[in-house]
Symmetry: C2
Subunit: 269 residues, 2 copies
Amino acid sequence: MQEKLPRASFQKILSDDKSLYEFLHNWEVYGLVLIKGAPLSMGQVRKVAERIAFIRRTHYGEEFSVIAKPNPSNVAYDAGPLQLHADLPYYQYKPGAELLHCIVQAEGSGGANTLVDGLHLAEMMRVQDPHSFNLLSSVHVDWSDIGVEDGEPFHKIHQAPILCLHPVTQELERINFSQPQRDSFFRIPLHIVEPWYRALKAFHAMAMDPSNCMTLKLNPGDMLAFDNIRILHGRKDFGTHLSRHIEGCYVDWDEVRSKSRVLEGALAS
Amino acid sequence: MQEKLPRASFQKILSDDKSLYEFLHNWEVYGLVLIKGAPLSMGQVRKVAERIAFIRRTHYGEEFSVIAKPNPSNVAYDAGPLQLHADLPYYQYKPGAELLHCIVQAEGSGGANTLVDGLHLAEMMRVQDPHSFNLLSSVHVDWSDIGVEDGEPFHKIHQAPILCLHPVTQELERINFSQPQRDSFFRIPLHIVEPWYRALKAFHAMAMDPSNCMTLKLNPGDMLAFDNIRILHGRKDFGTHLSRHIEGCYVDWDEVRSKSRVLEGALAS
């Protein structure tokens, strides 16, 4: 499956408008692009973001470093495995276009990413198991994140289903999926609890199915551009390889699409 | 009506947590707060934004100055009147909490703001004229903004109704309203065109009714904090007073509400 991944060259997207346009187009259409050839230093995700528009900041800052930290403010900052998830479900206005740059990677099998097209899963479930699909797209979950980052306390709450549909077209608009960020509150009628968990389990089983879930180990200098509205990502643990270092940032799809339209116009003229 | 406006002191919200909490609470509940006593220099909206969290950037930058400019990239940067509108309807993820700081004001009646609670109008229309309400909340409009700011071209497009309702609760989630940013494309069936324009005209008439529309002339040192998801704002022209200077910025409601929860917890303990 990795061989089919759309790819881009870091140097080309920085220097060539046509390459940048193709990269943005693939990012939007396929949800995932592997960028090769970034330098092994911090600040590279910012270069890509600022070639497009600008970084979308969150309470974790502009760039964030995924490294093992003492007393982490987020499960990502531990060395353990990360279940499949989408970032920031507790944001009403959730940043969508995500970049992860591998600066230092763990040896062996540790630190590899797992990746799933949540849009594909949702559309399969809509056909094969409409009862579960209806539950996951209608039952509101409390998403939350409470902590301190760089000395600043934050307390985010957002209520939304796992599968958010457009009210008119019923197309999938956004996936919220992150076990650690489901609140301990769950304000649903008692008789919905068991069916909802069965539906969640069914979605999980589809996600973990090797025919749907890709394992991809980034090499130092690789950058992953993916759609945080649609793609679920996880990570295998990297136990003793505590030097592993991924730098990430977000850009809003509004800005990515704007740049894409500007380039499309310029390249056509 | 101005006497009933919630107010806050610039110095107090910067220095005192209880005053900041009350200000944020009023901003969210009433949609509009008048802040008094800001210094007559640039950089004051940033101080308020960074007391909360951080500025939400758009293609117009972090802070934006509303002054008359040659070849303006936006109608706001002309000296003419501005119809009632909400900013940035062409953003899918539209910044919500807006600050406008009056540094230099025009003399006479020029430059006064007009302000309307769009949420109130929509709820009135839902009861009094449900047919118009249904049209304005279901017919998708193409919103767009194309131009160049600080040398960077942008091309935003977003499709959404004027009144955006929550798919389950049917509560008003957002108002899009800005004549200059309605695209020249309008992809609706021919038989909907006239009824839709009649509904728009009815909404406009409600907005211009003096019992719904407040005129408020900011004095130098005043800052207006309002909810860009809900409140419509306009401006009378300031023709020859070309030194008028308003500085503005946005903060996401996600960040405002986060700070509000953090303060509520801290003040209660």
